[in-house]
Symmetry: C2
Subunit: 459 residues, 2 copies
């Protein structure tokens, strides 16, 4: 049996292995399309995920296919690229191989150059037991799970008789006031306040409590004071209860334990929780650091050279959310895209015998986050700070342009039109599995507690 | 604590309970919108399922939201209708109550009139153990499971080294040559033969074997000899191996055991199987029969009176796939729609003191099935038999018109345009859970068999 990449590496061509199908990996692969190399892209999902729109899948606006085109389809015409589905379990920079667990076993892929773009996962700051009760927002699996929980919560509230229990199910807590948390909480508030307003007969969806928690003193801190204030105002206008300076110390099936700014503990009762608080670099960052002597920062990111390569290993690059550089860079898609492209071009230049490229320089194209329908905040350079409709139009344009895979753009625009104008959600499926199986598990656990069989047969 | 329906039944209004959110239940509810009644629709899913298009979700053409709008959203403006999420576990026609298991417990709903439109489920003809290996095509859960299996099979084949194992994963068997089986097998053949043609590097998706099995001697039998022959020809043109008169006697993780027309046993090795062979009426049909003395046919359907009511219980109606009448009716959406409407109008007429309606009469609007892109068969009345592009255009028009929930039509039309013209599939997500967790389970089971770890670390 042969190794995976050698199948494509016939003729002794330079073998580039890319780990990850996110923005970094995909831009690296695309920018190698004309290079005399064989590219193997290894990723644990078959799709490229347009992560900035994941919250729209979780809240029923877009379908999962719209934000996650198949990686193979994107690269189908790039004949020098092979996609391999696998979880990378090890990298050996001395032997120059990547080991991955594919759906059917383990495989080893040798490389001549390696671009690691494994991104970052959710971080619960050492409290991984929170994950079950407060899923993160990092994958399609996460978004579908949250979609089932959010729409399911209203369904469950509708069949409950006890007002206190209903309130538990009609309380939604989002932890983390960065862009993902703000976008998520804004969407849930719109769902409860508008979309679902006429759908139920026994509950008032508008009475739902939607709470945004963050230990930091500001919403969207990195956008600066002015936009931060505006975003908070807009959220409050939507009915979101924004609680800042509040530290989450516990999460369980019925609520969240917090410490208030004055140091006093408090409990928030809420059945549906979303975790958008922290990210931690892929464990591959530490693995690369251990083997190359590179530093690792608090968020687990590996420190790379000015050309995004690892110390002593010019052939190994780390790009995007899993790396850090001397100059601090934001954890946004733009950085990963630009670095993926940079690493690809560096490899191509070397193979062509050209001089090394100048050090990587991040071109900041600005930063934006939607708060609600027709309302976004945008910051471009050090001068432009926009909040409101114009920023929202910018958001719309940028996201449409960047949605990789042209085919999806038109349907996405249409889904958005429907959502923004009609306020409906066309993708609000909670599977039977999600609603009934999950409740059965919860009942099992809370048996003999107040949860058990609240609707009685009194006939 | 109160019973569920009385919450809506204030003022002593006539209480109509409808079981099921399929075509029958939904058409019954909509046709009661002007009647002086309180409607409670009890269903085990929160959505109305446009079942004739389920195969398009399973094969990546449409998103689940497009064929399954929320029942609450459809009925949001109908103030006399309440939707209750629950599995109906019992009906007591003497006490006039329906008992259902909601996500949080059990609830009892009293009625004055009852319309049972619980449809039919997949039947494995007494071999329910087949279900795990060959999922049916009855729910969104089924379609998403099959979508993961179908797209996942190509992914798995791509990482396998052993040609024999690859072939197992590149063989797809659909059992049942009715409309669902034909549509499904046609889509899989198009996927393998066209859509995925350039997506893989190690396998040839076009080499996939796509097999349609049926114990009957014809494809789409009820469409008549001519269309049956044409459909078979068209499937064969797509590369489908149509095997008729073949009886399936076993299904397991690696294949299907069949008995050939000459009585000899044979095994077909195939990892992905779809069951579209038989339907059995909801168990509620038998429950109603037991309580009213009505007959039950071989498919478990309850025999109703000419006005779709049950013997001795003019206030209890059974409509759609779960009932049978003196005159045989096809198991199609049209029957359920017309009967749901008929039962609703019967109730309204009685309340208005008007004479009973004439017996239910089915208006056959014809029958159609798509075989492939641009090719369908349609039979209308006893004369019209169409096969090919014109029939396909009819199919397209009819399905667009009937897709309940206007908002979805435009995006659906667009998705279709993309699919039919571009041949791409925009909804082809297989979740990580589906691919990796499923394979882990299979590995567990087949440990020490030929399946184990076929890709070795030879580096």
């Amino acid at each position: 049996m042969t190794e995976h990449a050698t199948a494509g590496g016939a003729g002794g061509r330079h073998r580039v292995v890319i780990i990850g199908s996110g923005f970094g990996g995909l831009f690296a692969a695309r920018n190698l399309r004309k290079a005399p190399v064989d590219v193997t892209l290894i990723a644990s999902t078959g799709h490229h995920l347009f992560q900035p729109l994941l919250y729209q899948v979780a809240t029923g606006v877009l379908s999962e296919g719209e934000i996650a085109p198949a990686t193979r389809e994107i690269l189908r015409r790039q004949d020098n690229a092979t996609v391999l589905l696998g979880h990378v379990t090890h990298i050996d920079v001395e032997r120059k191989v990547v080991v991955s667990r594919t759906p059917v076993g383990e495989t080893t892929t040798p490389y001549d150059s390696l671009i690691v773009a494994a991104g970052a996962g959710q971080s619960y700051f050492g409290n991984d037991q929170f994950a079950e009760y407060a899923p993160g927002m990092k994958s399609i699996d996460d978004a579908l799970e949250l979609r089932g929980r959010i729409f399911g919560a209203f369904e469950i509230a509708e069949v409950l008789e006890d007002p206190a229990e209903r309130e538990q199910w009609l309380t939604f807590v989002v932890v983390g006031a960065g862009p993902t948390g703000v976008e998520m909480v804004g969407q849930i508030a719109e769902l409860a306040g508008t979309t679902l307003q006429r759908d139920f007969r026994r509950i008032e969806s508008t009475s739902a409590k939607v709470i945004l928690l963050d230990a930091a003193p500001a919403v969207l801190g990195p956008f600066g004071d002015k936009l931060s204030r505006k975003a908070k105002q807009q959220l409050e206008r939507l009915g979101v209860d924004v609680q800042l300076g509040v530290k989450v110390v516990g999460v369980d099936s019925t609520g969240v334990d917090v410490i208030d700014p004055d140091g006093s503990p408090r409990r928030i009762t809420a059945r549906t929780k979303v975790w958008a608080a922290g990210v931690a670099a892929s464990p591959l960052a530490r693995l690369l650091a251990d083997q190359t002597g590179a530093e690792v920062d608090r968020a687990g990111r590996v420190k790379v050279n000015p050309d995004t390569s690892l110390p002593g290993h010019p052939e190994v690059f780390a790009v995007g959310d899993m790396m850090t550089m001397d100059k601090p860079l934001p954890g946004v898609a733009q950085v990963a895209m630009q670095q993926g492209k940079y690493a690809a071009r560096t490899i191509a230049a070397r193979l062509a015998g050209k001089p090394e490229l100048p050090p990587f320089h991040y071109r900041d194209k600005g930063n934006m986050a939607t708060v609600s329908r027709f309302h976004a905040v945008a910051s471009v350079g050090s001068k432009i700070r926009l909040a409101g409709f114009i920023a929202w139009l910018m958001w719309l344009a940028v996201h449409l342009v960047y949605l990789i895979g042209f085919k999806n753009r038109v349907t996405t625009l249409l889904h958005w039109t429907v959502t923004f104008i009609g306020r409906a959600r066309s993708e609000r499926i909670a599977t039977e599995q999600q609603i009934f199986a999950r409740m059965a598990i919860q009942r099992e656990r809370t048996k003999s507690s107040a949860d058990a069989v609240p609707v009685s047969d009194s006939a």
